[in-house]
Amino acid sequence: MGRERIVEKFSRGEKVLVCYLMAGYPDYETSLEAFRTVLKAGADFLEIGFPFSDPVADGTTIQRAHEEALKRGTKLKHVLRISSTLREDFPDTPFFLMTYYNPVFKIGVEKFCELVRDSGIDGLIVPDLPPEESWELKSYTQKYGLSLVLLASPTSSERRLKLICKHTDDMTYFVSITGTTGAREKLPIERLRADLQRYRKSCDKPVVVGFGISNGEQAKVIGDFSDGVVVGSALVKLAGERKFHELSQKVQELKSSLKLCLKP
């Protein structure tokens, strides 16, 4: 239950595959089906996107998903319904809700945490909430037993990495590049490897790497020096095109690449 699910996954020492999809994109039913597809295909963690009108950390693919999901009338109740429906069939997979801070703040931080927890979600990821501003949300994620995962970036100094490490729960989400989400053919692997070494010196919490990762090859290379990878845009694109078979294959490809990674 709750955060133990997350801890349990990392304790096995396997590299985790975190899969992001947008609730309500391209529509409610299709997104529910897409979430099921990635879970069946082997996603270790699920990130459920709650659409926001102004997603500044996202590149074109996920921006469009935010816009489209909102146009379809996606509200918090739909996101919660997706999560509680999936929870029945997948009792052990950690679920995160990913959104920007304004919806959380406007709905009411406490009410938001309570509703989210009751729907079977284990943690929150809020890309525009740095550790300095996380105290208000943190007081309620703690109260309701949710994990609040903070992000780190290649531009984070040693001081900031220590700060993030102190305040993040259960793991850190390391952003691979200075930039927005979206598949990239080339990632700055050497810089990233050095960044992760810096991170490990400052922090002993597990770290997953996200932004830009779209294929097995990238997952394998990055998995070698991290605890897992996050894949978003590549999956969102396939879900948007209703290509369930390709979606399933993509997740299997990523999953089997991670199995080849070096053990810590």
């Binding site: 500044v56 074109t60 304004n102 703040f105 890309p127 300095e132 200075t178």
Partner: protein, 393 residues
């Protein structure tokens, strides 16, 4: 709390930008106590931008109101046509001192974009301006001006295709190029330290006005009035008067077709507290925190939020925030043109009727100070269509 005005402000940005904001804050702290930085900036403000701007006693408008004297601070006479240049010269100079060579900016009506392109040309910086597709079509001439000045204009086609989305896109560019690029934000908005920096570069308006009015009247004004979108011209003229609690500070928001119509851009009068573009402040949003589209006759006020220091002045009751509808702004526009021979931009035109009303309220012996933040040249075509005047008439 650090970087806050009361409970407003803060730094709600992706982690990637945090180091840039920390760097900006420490560099700015260092420079703001460096006399030579301000001397250099003042040199450009004086010889290039046209400071100090006059304080004009609006005799005809005063007679029309039949009450207190109305004085107008003439920011409309500045180079590029508005107060925006005060901030862009300051931040462009700051960019140079930080050793960065590339500047990005957002623009709504194009005034901040033109002022940024101008400052970048002057100081030899590479400049890219983000502008919503809808605004770029409405303000074609400003797009041309920016291009003529050597700036790249990136048309934004996402979201509502207006100022809010231009800021989103500028933030995405900044996240991607943060190590080489400075973001010259155009108003007292955004994450800390931007609201403070922009206010500091704009407070010259109020400092000059205060000195000027003391010189001619021997006392402070009873009321200071300015239009408020993001709020930089208002913050600039208000700030030096904040400590004088006997001076009323009045901000006029864009009421569009009226607050009840839902078609407006009055974040304080018709919005609620939220978090967007790095700051906690007042925003126009629905019950789940989705930002809602704005409407105003004036593109420069067409923004769904307001600077956090205004939110604080409002909540602490130091300043009062009212609104003027599109119709009232157009009346103010015509009134100032006909009575004083000054064609205001549509933004400060929102504050004209409120100045008249306040002058009446205060009666003889009172003084009203109105900030005329920009001139109306850019709005000619738009107003001509709105008033259905044919150029040959």
């Amino acid at each position: 709390m650090h970087g806050y005005f009361g409970r407003f402000g803060g730094r709600f940005v992706p982690e990637t930008l945090m180091y840039a904001l920390e760097e900006l804050e420490s560099k700015y702290q260092e420079l703001s106590s460096d006399r030579s930085f301000w001397e250099e900036l003042n040199y450009y403000l004086r010889t290039y931008a046209g400071r100090p701007t006059p304080l004009y006693f609006a005799k005809n408008l005063t007679e029309y109101a039949g009450g207190a004297k109305i004085y107008i601070k003439r920011e409309d006479l500045l180079h590029t046509g508005a107060h925006k240049i005060n901030n862009t010269l300051g931040q462009a100079l700051l960019t140079k001192k930080m050793g960065k060579k590339r500047v990005i900016a957002e623009t709504g009506a194009g005034q901040h974009g033109v002022a940024t392109a101008t400052a970048c040309t002057l100081l030899g910086l590479d400049c890219t301006v983000y502008m919503g597709e809808e605004d770029a079509e409405r303000q074609e001439l400003n797009v041309f001006r920016m291009k003529l000045l050597g700036a790249k204009v990136q048309v934004v086609k996402s979201g509502s295709k207006t100022l809010k989305d231009a800021i989103n896109e500028a933030l995405r560019d900044w996240v991607s190029n943060v190590e080489t690029t400075h973001y010259i934000i155009g108003s007292v908005v955004g994450p800390h330290p931007f609201p403070t920096i922009v206010r500091d570069f704009q407070k010259v308006i109020g400092q000059e006005a205060k000195e000027q009015i003391l010189k001619v009247e021997g006392k402070l004004p009873d009321a200071v009035i300015a239009c408020v979108g993001g709020g930089s011209n208002a913050m600039g003229i208000f700030y030096p008067f904040v400590e004088h609690t006997e001076v009323r500070l009045i901000g006029v928001e864009a009421g569009g077709l009226g607050i009840n119509s839902g078609k407006h851009a009055a974040s304080i009068n018709g919005g609620s507290v939220g978090v967007l573009h790095g700051m906690k402040s007042y925003f126009l949003q629905d019950e789940e925190g989705q930002i809602i589209p704005t409407h105003s006759v004036s593109a420069g006020l067409d923004y769904p939020g307001v600077g956090p220091e205004h939110a604080y002045l409002f909540e602490s009751r130091r300043a009062q925030y009212v609104y003027a509808t599109d119709q009232e702004a157009l009346e103010g526009f015509k009134l100032l043109s006909k009575l004083e021979g000054i064609i205001p931009a549509l933004e400060p035109a929102h504050a004209v009727l409120k100045a008249v009303e306040t002058a009446k309220e205060l009666g003889k012996g009172g003084i009203v100070l109105l900030n005329l933040s920009g001139r109306g040249d850019k709005d000619m075509y738009h107003v001509m269509n709105l008033l259905k005047i044919s150029p040959s008439e």
